[in-house]
Amino acid sequence: MAYSFPEEVLEHVFSFLSSDRDRNAVSLVCKSWYDIERWCRRRIFVGNCYAVSPEIVIRRFPELRAVEMKGKPHFADFNLVPEGWGAYAYPWIAAMAEAYPFLEEIKLKRMVVTDESLELISKSYKNFKVLVLTSCEGFTTDGLASIAANCRHLRELDLRESEVEDLSGHWLSHFPDSCTSLVSLNMSCLGSEVSFSALERLVARSPNLRTLRLNRAVPLERLANLIRRAPQLVELGTGAYSAEIRSDTFSNLADAFSACKQLKTLSGFWDVVPSYLPAMYSVCSGITSLNLSYAAIPSSDLVKLINQCQNLQRLWVLDYIEDSGLDALAASCKGLQELRVFPSDPFGAEPNVPLTEQGLVSVSEGCPKLESVLYFCRQMSNAALIAIAKNRPNFIRFRLCIIDPQAPDYLTLEPLDTGFGAIVENCKELRRLSMTGLLTDRVFKYIGSHAKKLEMLSVAFAGDSDLGLHHVLSGCDSLRKLEIRDCPFGDKALLANAAKLETMRSLWMSSCFVSFGACKLLAQKMPRLNVEVIDERGPPESRPEGCSVERVYVYRTVDSRQRLDRPDFVWTLDEDSSLRYS
C-alpha cells in the first residue's frame, strides 16, 4: 500500500494496543498489517489449550514474551472430568523452550504440570519472571525448588489453588541469596512447613515484595516478624491465625500491622481465634479485598471486623456470617462490588446457620455498586430474586447455588423460572450466570430472549426438554462457554444448533441425554469442532446407538489433528466418523 506508514511506525502504533481483541482486529486489515502485527505481538492468551497447537502458535507469533493458557473445562473443579483426561503443559513448555528463549511469563490454569516442565522452564528462559499456576496439578515441591534455584530474575511465583505434592518445605531455601527481585509469592496451597528463617530472609531481601500469601503452616507467632520486614506489602495472606491468647503476641502483631500503610488485600485466616482479629484493625480502613473463606468466625466477630472495613470492595466469606452479618455488611460497605458466600457445611442435610435468601436481598439493596455475586444458600424464592434483580440491574456475574438441587421456591413451591427470568431481564450487562433450583424450559426461554450479553452459563438439574437447550443456543448471541450437567437435553437441540458451537469456546454436557450417534453426526457436520465423548464404560459402540453418553465436550479448534494425548476413556470422532481411540 503506497500510502501506508513504514513498518517501524506501524509497529510503534501497534505497541499501544494491549487488548487481544484489538490486535486481532488489526491483523485482519490486510496482509502486511497481519505480518507486522504478528512479529510484534508479545502476549498471547489461549483459552483452550486444545484449540490450537504449539506449532501453530509459534509459527504465527515468533517473538512472544508472555503466554497465558487454560486447560481443563471448568467442571473439572467439581470432579466431573476424570483423572487423566489431558491438559498437559509439557508439550507447550518443551516447544516454547526451543522457540522463545526470551520468554518471561507463563500463566496456566487447570493444567497438568510436571516437575519436568518446571525444571525445563527454570533452565530454558534466561529472563524468566512470572509463573502463575492456578488450579494446576501434577508437580511436587521439587519442581518448585528448580524454579527457586534457577530463575535469577523471578518476580512472581503464584500457586493459587494448585494441588502440589508436598514433599517438604525445603524448596523455599533454594532461592539464592542473590535473588532480590521477588514481587509476589503465593504459597498458600502448600501443606508443609518451610524454614521460617529462610522465609524471613527472603522477605527481608525483597524490597519490591507486594504480595505475600503464606500457607497454613506459618503460625501466627511468626507473622509479626514477617510483616515487619515487608511494610510495603499490598496483599497479605496469613497462615494459621490462631495462638494462645497472650498480650505480647497481640501487641507485637498489632504493631507490625500498623506499619503496613499500603495493605489492601487480606486472605488466609485458617483456624481463626477471633480475639486476634482486632490486631488488624489499624489497616482495615484501607482494605479493599478480604478473603475469609477459610475462616470459621462467628457472625458477631465478623460484623465487628467488617464494620472496620468501610472501603471494602470484595468480600469472600463463609455462611457463618448469617443474614444478620450481611445486613451489617450492607449498611457499612457501600462500595462493595463483589460478594462470595461459601457453605460451611455443604453436605449437611439441614441448615447449620441462619443464612437465607434474605442476606442476599439485603446486600443487593444496600450496596449500589454490587456487580458480582456467588452465593450458596439453602432456600430461595422468586420474590427474592425479583427484588434482587430490581435492586441491582448492574449485575455482571450472578451465580446462585441452592444446596438441594431442584429446590423450588420455598414459599410457593413453584419453579424459580420467573425469579431468574427477572435477573436476565433487568441485568442487561450480565456476562456470567449460574442457576440452580427447580427450573423448567421457561427459564431458558427468558434467557434466550434477554441475556444478549451473556458469555458463560452454568446449568445443573434444570429444564424439561431439548427446547430448553435450543432457546439458549439460538438466543444467546454472546455465548462463549456453556456447561451443563444432569439436564434432559439431547440430540435435537444440539444438532439443530451445530453452527452455533463454532462461535463458542466450548460446550460441556454431562449426564444428559446426548447419544453417541448424535456426537458422530455433529463431528461429521462440523469439521472445525472437536467432539470428545468422555465415557468410562468402555467403547460407545458396545452400547445401543440411542444410549446416552456420560459426558460430551465440544470445542472449536484450528488444530485439525486429533488429540494425540487422549486417555482410553475419551473418544474423538473425525470427519468420516470412524471411531478413534488410543
Binding site: 466431573l80 494441588e163 457445611d345 450458596f376 444410549c547
Partner: protein, 201 residues
C-alpha cells in the same frame, strides 16, 4: 440408601425426577459421592449416640463456637458427584476433618470406630510399632466391649491427612502413623482390604 464400598459403581434403578423420558433408553443414577460417608448411613442409627463432634469441638482451639450438628437423617438430599459445586481441591475436602485433625498433628491419639458398635474408642499410636500390633489390639478391644460374631471379617479403613478414606495397609507403618487421623472398621461384604478375622476367645 445403602452405601456400598465395592469397587464397582452402585447401580440403582432409574430415578427420573420428573424429567420427560421420551426417546431415551436409560438414565443412570449418579455415583454416590463416597468421600462423605462420614455423614451418611454407614454409621446409621448409631450416629446419634456418638458424641464425637462434641468431643472434637472441646479439643479445638480457643474461642471457636461449638458447631451443633443434628444427627443425620436418612431423608437427606441425594448425593451427586461434584455437588454442591464447591471447590473439590484437597483443602476444601478437608472440611470433614476437625480443625485439630487438619493441622500438623499434635498428639498421637486417633479415634477408632467399629461398624455396629455404638461407642468408639481412642488409641495412642505410640503404643504400637506395626500394623499387626495395632490390629490385634483393636480386635481385643472391640471383642471385649461388644458382641462380635466369631468369624466375622472386617475391613479396616483410615482417614488420612488429606481427608480421604483409605485402606489400611497401603503405606509403610511409619508413613501410616504420620498420615492417619481416624480409623474405622467396617463389616466386610467385599473381598478387599485389610481383613481382620475376629474370633471370640
Amino acid at each position: 440408601m445403602e452405601l456400598e464400598l465395592g469397587l464397582a459403581l452402585p447401580n440403582h434403578s432409574a430415578n427420573n425426577n420428573g424429567f420427560e423420558t421420551e426417546n431415551h433408553k436409560e438414565y443412570r443414577q449418579k455415583r454416590v459421592f463416597l468421600e462423605d460417608h462420614s455423614a451418611t448411613g454407614v454409621e446409621g442409627t448409631t450416629l446419634s449416640l456418638l458424641s464425637w463432634s462434641g468431643v472434637a469441638e472441646m479439643e479445638d482451639g480457643v474461642g471457636r463456637p461449638p458447631k451443633y450438628r443434628k444427627p443425620h437423617d436418612d431423608g437427606g438430599p441425594r448425593r451427586f458427584e461434584g455437588w454442591p459445586p464447591t471447590d473439590s481441591s484437597p483443602r476444601r475436602r478437608r472440611s470433614h476433618l476437625t480443625a485439630t485433625e487438619q493441622v500438623v498433628r499434635k498428639s498421637m491419639h486417633v479415634k477408632v470406630k467399629m461398624e455396629g458398635v455404638a461407642i468408639g474408642r481412642k488409641v495412642d499410636l505410640r503404643d504400637f510399632d506395626s500394623y499387626h500390633d495395632l490390629t490385634s489390639t483393636l480386635m481385643d478391644m472391640f471383642a471385649k466391649y461388644s458382641k462380635i460374631e466369631s468369624g466375622e471379617e472386617y475391613t479396616l479403613l483410615y482417614l488420612d491427612k488429606e481427608g480421604d478414606w483409605m485402606l489400611v495397609g497401603d503405606l509403610d507403618w511409619e508413613e501410616f502413623v504420620e498420615s492417619v487421623r481416624r480409623v474405622k472398621m467396617l463389616k466386610n461384604d467385599n473381598k478387599m482390604g485389610f481383613r481382620l478375622l475376629l474370633s471370640k476367645n
